[in-house]
Symmetry: C3
Subunit: 138 residues, 3 copies
């Protein structure tokens, strides 16, 4: 098995960013020359997550609002009481969404739908640079 | 690494279908002759998702009800206001559940529990044919 | 492609356990001698799940409370009405969180953040031994 990897960096704003990384994935696969395999997107860190969505401002806004409903930013969190960093909601959202997404690669491209983009969500409550790992197995 | 793939098609009803695809996965692995590897189930498109559940009508109904609680069909969605297609809830549910599931393969079978089935959820609000990609790495 | 696997066992308490299995994953990779590849954690069974979280008692407690909000233990579930085993909430939580996590391996280690641990959640309502499958592709 051949393994290739690439790190990309994203600048979070502290307000639940949703980053479309599909073009980064496309470019990474293209540069590798791999035609068939598996592409993994992984977010090291416990306040981010990966999924897919139709990347248009409406659906992205709806996802943000739903995350606010599931784990509200201003609710009381035991994490905050212990550590005082105020990002208890970030940890819960990250655990729910998950840090990992595997996508099949076919004919040199990720097999996503036309209206389906690969997105990294930064849930943290302070602006930070995020490293995201792309790994390609072939 | 060897890569095999197969597409299966499902007919959605627009009412949150939960399709048990375990038999399709079993058959695909059996046809491949692969004994050990990794099986990926992926739903191209931004209104579906993959997970596992005990596939009996009670648990399936409970999952549907919970999805309705997390992202109600008739709530207000920015996606709907922008595009008028009324499936904002479908996009949110799909992003939450995720489009991808990796399952280990051992002795020619997916390593799932006896009461654990691999399911594809169609969240869209119109009847549509769904293509699902099975990919086997060995 | 080379495939290695290992099963680990966990003892659930019936009260939503969150087990940190990062050390097991580390040891498994180290024993294998693999430097680069993909590590899969999979929970056979339909009442468990896998994700990552900062494994400290506050964040773990917050995740438990959120799961109780999303799928309350004492709500009415069709699964319970049909089967009488009272673990309808366990099935829903398991389907939402998902049974599978893929993590890249680099330099003989899983590429997780410093404060990010790999955790298995046991959602069942009776104490039971859990087998968890670790699979390493290289």
């Amino acid at each position: 098995m051949q393994t290739r990897r690439k790190r990309i960096e994203l600048q979070g704003s502290a307000e639940m960013d949703v980053f479309d990384v599909t073009a980064d994935v496309d470019q990474f696969i293209q540069e590798s020359g791999v035609e068939e395999g598996l592409l993994l997107v992984f977010t090291p860190g416990s306040t981010a997550g990966v999924t897919t969505i139709e990347f248009e401002s409406g659906a992205v806004s709806d996802l943000k609002r739903t995350m606010e409903k599931l784990a509200p930013r201003d609710a009381e969190y035991q994490h905050n009481l212990r550590w005082g960093d105020g990002n208890g909601y970030s940890h819960v959202r990250s655990a729910l969404l998950g840090p990992s997404l595997a996508v099949p690669v076919e004919a040199g491209k990720p097999v996503v739908g036309t209206w389906q983009q690969i997105v990294v969500c930064d849930f943290d409550n302070r602006p930070r640079r995020r490293k995201v790992l792309l790994q390609l197995l072939a």
